[in-house]
Protein backbone atom coordinates (compact mmCIF):
# COMPACT_ATOMS: atom_id res chain seq x y z
CA UNK A 1 0.00 0.00 0.00
CA UNK A 2 1.42 3.40 -0.86
CA UNK A 3 2.04 5.86 1.96
CA UNK A 4 -0.56 8.33 0.73
CA UNK A 5 -3.23 5.69 0.88
CA UNK A 6 -2.10 4.71 4.34
CA UNK A 7 -2.52 8.26 5.59
CA UNK A 8 -5.82 8.63 3.78
CA UNK A 9 -7.13 5.52 5.52
CA UNK A 10 -5.83 6.76 8.83
CA UNK A 11 -7.86 9.95 8.39
CA UNK A 12 -11.02 8.08 9.28
CA UNK A 13 -9.95 8.99 12.80
CA UNK A 14 -11.04 12.59 12.22
CA UNK A 15 -13.41 13.96 14.85
CA UNK A 16 -17.08 13.27 14.21
CA UNK A 17 -17.81 17.00 14.33
CA UNK A 18 -15.38 17.73 11.52
CA UNK A 19 -16.78 14.97 9.38
CA UNK A 20 -20.27 16.35 9.97
CA UNK A 21 -19.32 19.87 8.87
CA UNK A 22 -19.14 18.94 5.20
CA UNK A 23 -22.45 18.58 3.45
CA UNK A 24 -23.18 18.01 -0.21
CA UNK A 25 -25.59 20.91 -0.39
CA UNK A 26 -23.86 23.59 1.64
CA UNK A 27 -24.90 26.41 -0.65
CA UNK A 28 -28.52 25.61 0.08
CA UNK A 29 -27.91 25.44 3.81
CA UNK A 30 -26.25 28.84 3.74
CA UNK A 31 -29.13 30.30 1.77
CA UNK A 32 -31.56 28.96 4.32
CA UNK A 33 -29.90 31.03 7.03
CA UNK A 34 -30.16 34.16 4.96
CA UNK A 35 -33.79 33.66 4.05
CA UNK A 36 -35.83 36.69 5.08
CA UNK A 37 -39.35 36.49 6.35
CA UNK A 38 -41.76 38.72 4.49
CA UNK A 39 -42.79 41.98 6.15
CA UNK A 40 -41.07 41.08 9.38
CA UNK A 41 -42.18 44.33 10.97
CA UNK A 42 -45.79 43.31 10.96
CA UNK A 43 -45.04 39.88 12.33
CA UNK A 44 -44.98 40.17 16.07
CA UNK A 45 -43.90 37.07 17.83
CA UNK A 46 -44.17 36.85 21.54
CA UNK A 47 -41.67 34.12 22.17
CA UNK A 48 -39.78 34.05 25.41
CA UNK A 49 -36.05 33.87 25.08
CA UNK A 50 -35.80 30.12 24.83
CA UNK A 51 -32.20 29.84 26.04
CA UNK A 52 -31.50 32.84 28.26
CA UNK A 53 -28.45 33.36 30.37
CA UNK A 54 -28.93 32.74 34.05
CA UNK A 55 -28.53 36.42 34.90
CA UNK A 56 -31.84 37.27 33.26
CA UNK A 57 -33.79 34.57 35.04
CA UNK A 58 -36.82 35.67 37.08
CA UNK A 59 -36.74 34.10 40.49
CA UNK A 60 -40.39 34.51 41.46
CA UNK A 61 -41.95 32.23 38.86
CA UNK A 62 -41.85 28.67 40.17
CA UNK A 63 -40.68 26.92 37.02
CA UNK A 64 -37.87 29.14 35.89
CA UNK A 65 -34.64 27.27 36.06
CA UNK A 66 -36.33 23.98 36.82
CA UNK A 67 -35.32 21.17 34.57
CA UNK A 68 -38.25 18.81 34.39
CA UNK A 69 -37.64 15.14 34.70
CA UNK A 70 -39.42 12.78 32.36
CA UNK A 71 -39.69 9.07 33.01
CA UNK A 72 -41.34 6.14 31.30
CA UNK A 73 -44.18 5.10 33.50
CA UNK A 74 -45.63 2.39 31.31
CA UNK A 75 -44.08 0.19 28.65
CA UNK A 76 -46.64 -1.67 26.64
CA UNK A 77 -45.49 -4.64 24.65
CA UNK A 78 -47.75 -6.88 22.65
CA UNK A 79 -45.92 -9.20 20.32
CA UNK A 80 -47.13 -12.21 18.42
CA UNK A 81 -47.05 -13.54 14.85
CA UNK A 82 -49.37 -10.87 13.58
CA UNK A 83 -48.78 -7.97 15.84
CA UNK A 84 -45.91 -5.98 17.20
CA UNK A 85 -46.85 -3.21 19.59
CA UNK A 86 -44.19 -1.33 21.49
CA UNK A 87 -45.39 1.72 23.37
CA UNK A 88 -43.58 3.87 25.88
CA UNK A 89 -45.70 6.23 27.95
CA UNK A 90 -43.93 9.21 29.47
CA UNK A 91 -44.71 11.22 32.54
CA UNK A 92 -43.28 14.56 33.54
CA UNK A 93 -42.21 14.31 37.13
CA UNK A 94 -42.42 17.45 39.20
CA UNK A 95 -43.04 17.80 42.91
CA UNK A 96 -44.41 21.33 42.74
CA UNK A 97 -47.88 19.99 42.17
CA UNK A 98 -48.38 22.43 39.35
CA UNK A 99 -51.51 21.94 37.31
CA UNK A 100 -49.81 22.37 33.95
CA UNK A 101 -47.73 19.26 34.56
CA UNK A 102 -50.87 17.20 35.14
CA UNK A 103 -52.47 18.88 32.15
CA UNK A 104 -49.68 17.88 29.79
CA UNK A 105 -49.38 14.40 31.22
CA UNK A 106 -53.11 13.92 30.68
CA UNK A 107 -52.88 15.18 27.14
CA UNK A 108 -49.97 12.90 26.21
CA UNK A 109 -51.63 9.88 27.80
CA UNK A 110 -54.90 10.61 26.00
CA UNK A 111 -53.05 10.93 22.70
CA UNK A 112 -51.28 7.64 23.19
CA UNK A 113 -54.57 5.95 24.11
CA UNK A 114 -56.00 7.31 20.90
CA UNK A 115 -53.07 5.98 18.87
CA UNK A 116 -53.45 2.55 20.42
CA UNK A 117 -57.21 2.30 19.91
CA UNK A 118 -56.95 3.58 16.37
CA UNK A 119 -54.28 1.03 15.65
CA UNK A 120 -56.24 -1.94 16.95
CA UNK A 121 -59.28 -0.73 15.06
CA UNK A 122 -57.35 -0.29 11.80
CA UNK A 123 -55.41 -3.49 11.98
CA UNK A 124 -58.30 -5.85 12.81
CA UNK A 125 -57.14 -9.38 12.16
CA UNK A 126 -54.29 -8.56 9.82
CA UNK A 127 -50.59 -7.95 10.40
CA UNK A 128 -49.42 -4.67 11.78
CA UNK A 129 -46.97 -2.91 14.03
CA UNK A 130 -47.14 0.18 16.21
CA UNK A 131 -44.23 1.87 17.87
CA UNK A 132 -44.73 4.82 20.15
CA UNK A 133 -42.00 6.59 22.03
CA UNK A 134 -41.16 10.06 23.19
CA UNK A 135 -38.37 12.57 23.13
CA UNK A 136 -37.66 15.52 25.36
CA UNK A 137 -36.98 18.08 22.66
CA UNK A 138 -36.38 21.11 24.85
CA UNK A 139 -35.78 21.36 28.58
CA UNK A 140 -34.22 24.75 29.16
CA UNK A 141 -34.70 27.30 31.94
CA UNK A 142 -37.73 28.79 30.25
CA UNK A 143 -39.20 26.20 27.93
CA UNK A 144 -40.15 22.57 27.84
CA UNK A 145 -41.13 20.49 24.84
CA UNK A 146 -41.86 16.79 24.66
CA UNK A 147 -42.73 14.92 21.49
CA UNK A 148 -44.73 11.72 21.15
CA UNK A 149 -43.49 9.86 18.08
CA UNK A 150 -45.45 7.07 16.52
CA UNK A 151 -44.92 4.77 13.60
CA UNK A 152 -47.74 2.57 12.45
CA UNK A 153 -46.97 -0.12 9.92
CA UNK A 154 -49.57 -2.07 8.04
CA UNK A 155 -49.11 -2.27 4.31
CA UNK A 156 -46.84 0.72 4.51
CA UNK A 157 -45.63 2.93 7.30
CA UNK A 158 -47.38 5.94 8.75
CA UNK A 159 -45.43 8.32 10.88
CA UNK A 160 -46.84 10.87 13.24
CA UNK A 161 -45.40 13.26 15.74
CA UNK A 162 -47.08 15.42 18.36
CA UNK A 163 -45.33 18.16 20.26
CA UNK A 164 -46.41 19.49 23.65
CA UNK A 165 -44.99 22.79 24.87
CA UNK A 166 -44.80 24.38 28.30
CA UNK A 167 -43.74 27.97 28.82
CA UNK A 168 -41.89 27.80 32.11
CA UNK A 169 -41.91 31.57 32.57
CA UNK A 170 -45.69 31.57 32.95
CA UNK A 171 -46.29 27.94 33.84
CA UNK A 172 -48.66 27.59 30.92
CA UNK A 173 -49.28 24.97 28.28
CA UNK A 174 -48.86 26.86 25.01
CA UNK A 175 -50.50 26.04 21.72
CA UNK A 176 -49.24 27.64 18.52
CA UNK A 177 -51.62 30.61 18.44
CA UNK A 178 -50.66 31.46 22.03
CA UNK A 179 -47.23 32.50 20.73
CA UNK A 180 -48.59 35.48 18.83
CA UNK A 181 -50.15 38.75 19.89
CA UNK A 182 -52.37 38.78 16.82
CA UNK A 183 -52.49 35.28 15.42
CA UNK A 184 -54.92 36.13 12.59
CA UNK A 185 -52.40 38.59 11.18
CA UNK A 186 -49.29 36.53 11.91
CA UNK A 187 -50.93 33.46 10.38
CA UNK A 188 -51.03 35.02 6.93
CA UNK A 189 -47.35 35.87 6.95
CA UNK A 190 -46.36 32.47 8.32
CA UNK A 191 -48.39 30.69 5.65
CA UNK A 192 -46.74 32.78 2.95
CA UNK A 193 -43.33 31.94 4.33
CA UNK A 194 -44.04 28.23 4.53
CA UNK A 195 -45.33 28.11 0.96
CA UNK A 196 -42.34 30.06 -0.24
CA UNK A 197 -39.96 27.64 1.46
CA UNK A 198 -41.79 24.64 0.06
CA UNK A 199 -41.56 26.02 -3.45
CA UNK A 200 -37.90 26.75 -3.01
CA UNK A 201 -37.14 23.31 -1.57
CA UNK A 202 -38.92 21.68 -4.46
CA UNK A 203 -36.73 23.59 -6.85
CA UNK A 204 -33.43 23.29 -5.02
CA UNK A 205 -33.55 19.93 -3.36
CA UNK A 206 -35.90 17.92 -5.49
CA UNK A 207 -38.36 17.41 -2.62
CA UNK A 208 -42.12 17.22 -3.02
CA UNK A 209 -44.83 19.06 -1.12
CA UNK A 210 -48.57 19.43 -1.67
CA UNK A 211 -49.81 23.00 -1.66
CA UNK A 212 -53.60 23.39 -1.61
CA UNK A 213 -53.75 26.38 -3.94
CA UNK A 214 -51.79 24.43 -6.55
CA UNK A 215 -52.50 20.76 -5.93
CA UNK A 216 -56.06 20.97 -4.53
CA UNK A 217 -54.77 19.16 -1.49
CA UNK A 218 -52.07 19.68 1.08
CA UNK A 219 -50.90 22.75 2.98
CA UNK A 220 -53.20 25.73 3.20
CA UNK A 221 -52.74 27.29 6.61
CA UNK A 222 -51.25 26.74 10.01
CA UNK A 223 -53.88 26.18 12.67
CA UNK A 224 -54.39 27.39 16.21
CA UNK A 225 -52.97 24.13 17.49
CA UNK A 226 -50.34 23.74 14.79
CA UNK A 227 -47.64 21.26 15.79
CA UNK A 228 -44.46 23.18 16.67
CA UNK A 229 -41.28 23.29 18.71
CA UNK A 230 -38.13 25.41 19.01
CA UNK A 231 -34.86 24.28 17.43
CA UNK A 232 -31.55 24.29 19.28
CA UNK A 233 -30.90 27.73 17.78
CA UNK A 234 -34.16 29.01 19.21
CA UNK A 235 -35.97 29.10 15.87
CA UNK A 236 -39.62 28.19 15.56
CA UNK A 237 -40.22 24.95 13.67
CA UNK A 238 -43.64 23.77 12.47
CA UNK A 239 -44.23 20.08 11.92
CA UNK A 240 -46.68 18.05 9.84
CA UNK A 241 -47.48 14.35 10.01
CA UNK A 242 -46.65 12.03 7.14
CA UNK A 243 -49.06 12.53 4.22
CA UNK A 244 -50.37 15.81 5.65
CA UNK A 245 -48.53 18.15 3.27
CA UNK A 246 -46.36 15.83 1.22
CA UNK A 247 -46.25 12.33 -0.26
CA UNK A 248 -45.40 9.45 2.07
CA UNK A 249 -41.77 9.15 1.08
CA UNK A 250 -41.11 12.58 2.58
CA UNK A 251 -42.02 11.31 6.04
CA UNK A 252 -42.70 13.88 8.72
CA UNK A 253 -42.29 17.38 7.34
CA UNK A 254 -40.67 20.12 9.39
CA UNK A 255 -40.27 23.71 8.28
CA UNK A 256 -38.16 26.19 10.18
CA UNK A 257 -39.37 29.77 10.38
CA UNK A 258 -36.39 32.11 10.57
CA UNK A 259 -35.83 33.78 13.91
CA UNK A 260 -37.69 37.05 14.16
CA UNK A 261 -36.15 38.56 17.29
Amino acid sequence: MRKGELIFRELDGLNDDYIEEWSINMKHKNRKNQRLLIASIALILIIPNVFPSFAKVLVEVPFIGKIFEVVTIVHIEDKNDLREVDVEVPSIVDDSGALVIDEVNDKTHEYIDLLLSQFYEDVGESRGALTVDYEVVTNSDTWFTISINSTEIQASGYERIQYYNIDKTTGEYKIFSDLFEDFEVSKLLINENIIEQMKKNMEDEDLTYFIKSIDNTGFESVTNDQNYYFSNDGNLVVAFDEYEVAPGYMGIVEIELSDMN
Partner: protein
Protein backbone atom coordinates in the same frame (compact mmCIF):
# COMPACT_ATOMS: atom_id res chain seq x y z
CA UNK B 1 -36.15 11.39 9.92
CA UNK B 2 -33.94 12.24 12.85
CA UNK B 3 -30.83 10.13 13.24
CA UNK B 4 -31.86 9.02 16.70
CA UNK B 5 -35.08 7.62 15.23
CA UNK B 6 -33.23 5.80 12.49
CA UNK B 7 -30.93 4.25 15.08
CA UNK B 8 -34.00 3.28 17.09
CA UNK B 9 -35.42 1.47 14.08
CA UNK B 10 -32.18 -0.51 13.76
CA UNK B 11 -32.32 -1.39 17.44
CA UNK B 12 -35.89 -2.53 17.06
CA UNK B 13 -34.78 -4.60 14.04
CA UNK B 14 -37.46 -2.90 11.99
CA UNK B 15 -37.59 -3.44 8.23
CA UNK B 16 -37.92 0.30 7.84
CA UNK B 17 -34.49 0.96 9.26
CA UNK B 18 -32.55 0.51 6.03
CA UNK B 19 -35.25 2.25 3.99
CA UNK B 20 -35.06 5.33 6.18
CA UNK B 21 -31.27 5.19 6.24
CA UNK B 22 -31.22 5.19 2.46
CA UNK B 23 -33.77 7.97 2.21
CA UNK B 24 -31.53 10.22 4.19
CA UNK B 25 -28.03 9.03 3.32
CA UNK B 26 -28.08 7.33 -0.06
CA UNK B 27 -26.76 10.38 -1.86
CA UNK B 28 -24.14 10.86 0.81
CA UNK B 29 -22.91 7.27 0.54
CA UNK B 30 -22.89 7.32 -3.23
CA UNK B 31 -20.91 10.50 -3.29
CA UNK B 32 -18.15 9.23 -1.01
CA UNK B 33 -17.86 5.91 -2.79
CA UNK B 34 -17.89 7.49 -6.22
CA UNK B 35 -15.13 9.88 -5.24
CA UNK B 36 -12.95 6.87 -4.46
CA UNK B 37 -14.04 4.30 -7.02
CA UNK B 38 -15.48 6.11 -10.07
CA UNK B 39 -17.19 2.90 -11.15
CA UNK B 40 -20.99 2.76 -10.75
CA UNK B 41 -21.25 -1.02 -10.25
CA UNK B 42 -18.58 -1.02 -7.57
CA UNK B 43 -20.22 1.97 -5.93
CA UNK B 44 -23.59 0.27 -5.81
CA UNK B 45 -22.07 -2.80 -4.23
CA UNK B 46 -20.27 -0.73 -1.61
CA UNK B 47 -23.47 1.11 -0.71
CA UNK B 48 -25.29 -2.20 -0.30
CA UNK B 49 -22.45 -3.64 1.75
CA UNK B 50 -22.48 -0.55 3.92
CA UNK B 51 -26.19 -0.90 4.65
CA UNK B 52 -25.63 -4.53 5.54
CA UNK B 53 -22.72 -3.69 7.79
CA UNK B 54 -24.77 -1.07 9.60
CA UNK B 55 -27.65 -3.51 10.05
CA UNK B 56 -25.23 -6.01 11.53
CA UNK B 57 -23.52 -3.58 13.86
CA UNK B 58 -26.37 -1.44 15.24
CA UNK B 59 -27.02 -2.70 17.90
CA UNK B 60 -24.87 -3.16 19.92
CA UNK B 61 -22.98 -0.20 18.52
CA UNK B 62 -24.92 3.05 19.00
CA UNK B 63 -22.96 5.70 17.10
CA UNK B 64 -22.95 9.24 18.50
CA UNK B 65 -22.83 10.59 14.97
CA UNK B 66 -24.66 8.47 12.45
CA UNK B 67 -23.38 10.52 9.55
CA UNK B 68 -19.74 10.06 10.56
CA UNK B 69 -20.34 6.37 11.26
CA UNK B 70 -21.81 5.81 7.81
CA UNK B 71 -19.11 7.93 6.19
CA UNK B 72 -16.31 5.88 7.73
CA UNK B 73 -17.83 2.54 6.76
CA UNK B 74 -18.49 3.41 3.13
CA UNK B 75 -15.13 5.07 2.89
CA UNK B 76 -13.26 2.03 4.16
CA UNK B 77 -15.27 -0.43 2.11
CA UNK B 78 -14.63 1.66 -1.00
CA UNK B 79 -10.91 1.76 -0.27
CA UNK B 80 -10.82 -2.00 0.19
CA UNK B 81 -12.65 -2.33 -3.09
CA UNK B 82 -10.14 -0.05 -4.76
CA UNK B 83 -7.28 -2.23 -3.61
CA UNK B 84 -8.86 -5.29 -5.09
CA UNK B 85 -9.53 -3.69 -8.43
CA UNK B 86 -7.48 -4.19 -11.52
CA UNK B 87 -4.11 -2.48 -11.08
CA UNK B 88 -4.28 -1.24 -14.67
CA UNK B 89 -7.32 0.88 -13.92
CA UNK B 90 -5.69 2.39 -10.88
CA UNK B 91 -3.55 5.44 -11.13
CA UNK B 92 -6.09 7.30 -13.21
CA UNK B 93 -8.59 8.42 -10.61
CA UNK B 94 -8.80 11.61 -8.61
CA UNK B 95 -8.22 9.55 -5.48
CA UNK B 96 -4.64 8.87 -6.54
CA UNK B 97 -4.01 12.62 -6.67
CA UNK B 98 -5.36 12.87 -3.13
CA UNK B 99 -2.90 10.17 -2.07
CA UNK B 100 -0.09 12.11 -3.78
CA UNK B 101 -1.01 15.26 -1.89
CA UNK B 102 -1.03 13.49 1.44
CA UNK B 103 2.41 12.09 0.73
CA UNK B 104 3.62 15.68 0.50
CA UNK B 105 2.73 16.10 4.14
CA UNK B 106 4.98 13.28 5.24
CA UNK B 107 7.57 13.70 2.54
CA UNK B 108 11.09 14.16 3.76
CA UNK B 109 10.61 12.01 6.80
CA UNK B 110 12.92 9.09 7.31
CA UNK B 111 11.03 6.17 5.96
CA UNK B 112 12.35 2.73 6.37
CA UNK B 113 10.87 -0.25 4.66
CA UNK B 114 9.18 -1.83 7.60
CA UNK B 115 7.16 1.07 8.94
CA UNK B 116 3.70 1.86 10.18
CA UNK B 117 1.83 5.05 11.07
CA UNK B 118 1.35 5.89 14.69
CA UNK B 119 -1.94 6.76 16.35
CA UNK B 120 -0.35 9.97 17.56
CA UNK B 121 -0.65 11.28 14.04
CA UNK B 122 -4.42 11.30 14.08
CA UNK B 123 -4.67 13.00 17.45
CA UNK B 124 -2.36 15.77 16.28
CA UNK B 125 -4.21 16.22 13.03
CA UNK B 126 -7.47 16.68 14.94
CA UNK B 127 -5.84 19.31 17.14
CA UNK B 128 -4.47 21.03 14.05
CA UNK B 129 -7.90 21.06 12.42
CA UNK B 130 -9.46 22.41 15.60
CA UNK B 131 -7.21 25.47 15.35
CA UNK B 132 -8.41 26.33 11.85
CA UNK B 133 -11.27 28.51 10.69
CA UNK B 134 -14.35 26.54 9.73
CA UNK B 135 -13.89 27.24 6.03
CA UNK B 136 -10.31 25.97 6.00
CA UNK B 137 -11.24 22.91 8.02
CA UNK B 138 -14.17 22.11 5.77
CA UNK B 139 -11.91 22.35 2.72
CA UNK B 140 -9.40 19.98 4.34
CA UNK B 141 -12.07 17.46 5.34
CA UNK B 142 -13.75 17.67 1.95
CA UNK B 143 -10.49 16.83 0.21
CA UNK B 144 -8.86 14.38 2.60
CA UNK B 145 -11.79 12.60 4.16
CA UNK B 146 -14.37 12.85 1.39
CA UNK B 147 -11.86 12.86 -1.52
CA UNK B 148 -13.85 15.62 -3.23
CA UNK B 149 -12.31 17.21 -6.30
CA UNK B 150 -11.37 20.88 -6.34
CA UNK B 151 -14.21 21.87 -8.64
CA UNK B 152 -16.89 20.41 -6.39
CA UNK B 153 -15.39 21.99 -3.31
CA UNK B 154 -15.35 25.40 -4.99
CA UNK B 155 -18.94 25.05 -6.21
CA UNK B 156 -20.23 23.87 -2.89
CA UNK B 157 -18.57 26.61 -0.85
CA UNK B 158 -19.09 29.26 -3.47
CA UNK B 159 -15.41 30.19 -3.72
CA UNK B 160 -13.00 30.10 -6.64
CA UNK B 161 -11.11 26.98 -7.63
CA UNK B 162 -7.80 28.79 -7.24
CA UNK B 163 -8.71 29.71 -3.68
CA UNK B 164 -9.44 26.05 -2.95
CA UNK B 165 -6.12 25.00 -4.48
CA UNK B 166 -4.05 27.57 -2.64
CA UNK B 167 -5.85 26.84 0.62
CA UNK B 168 -5.13 23.14 0.28
CA UNK B 169 -1.53 23.80 -0.60
CA UNK B 170 -1.14 26.08 2.40
CA UNK B 171 -2.89 23.60 4.69
CA UNK B 172 -0.60 20.78 3.68
CA UNK B 173 2.46 22.93 4.32
CA UNK B 174 1.07 24.15 7.67
CA UNK B 175 0.17 20.64 8.75
CA UNK B 176 3.62 19.40 7.88
CA UNK B 177 5.21 22.17 9.95
CA UNK B 178 2.80 21.56 12.79
CA UNK B 179 3.56 17.85 12.93
CA UNK B 180 7.28 18.56 12.89
CA UNK B 181 6.93 21.07 15.71
CA UNK B 182 4.98 18.55 17.77
CA UNK B 183 7.73 16.03 17.28
CA UNK B 184 5.30 13.53 15.87
CA UNK B 185 6.94 10.39 14.76
CA UNK B 186 5.27 9.65 11.49
CA UNK B 187 7.05 6.42 11.09
CA UNK B 188 8.20 3.93 13.58
CA UNK B 189 9.93 0.67 13.00
CA UNK B 190 7.90 -2.44 13.38
CA UNK B 191 7.73 -5.81 11.72
CA UNK B 192 5.04 -4.66 9.35
CA UNK B 193 5.36 -4.52 5.64
CA UNK B 194 4.02 -1.66 3.56
CA UNK B 195 3.15 -4.31 1.07
CA UNK B 196 0.23 -5.42 3.26
Amino acid sequence: MKDSRIIQLFCKRSERAVTELNKKYNRYMNRISYNILSNPEDVEECVNDTCLKIWQSIPPTIPKSLKAYIGRIIRNLSLDRLRKSNTDKRGSGEIEVVFDELEEVIGGYNTVEDTVLTRELMKEINVFLGSLSKEKRVIFVARYFYAENVKNISLNLNISESKVKTTLHRLRADLKEYLKSRGVEIWEKENWSLEN
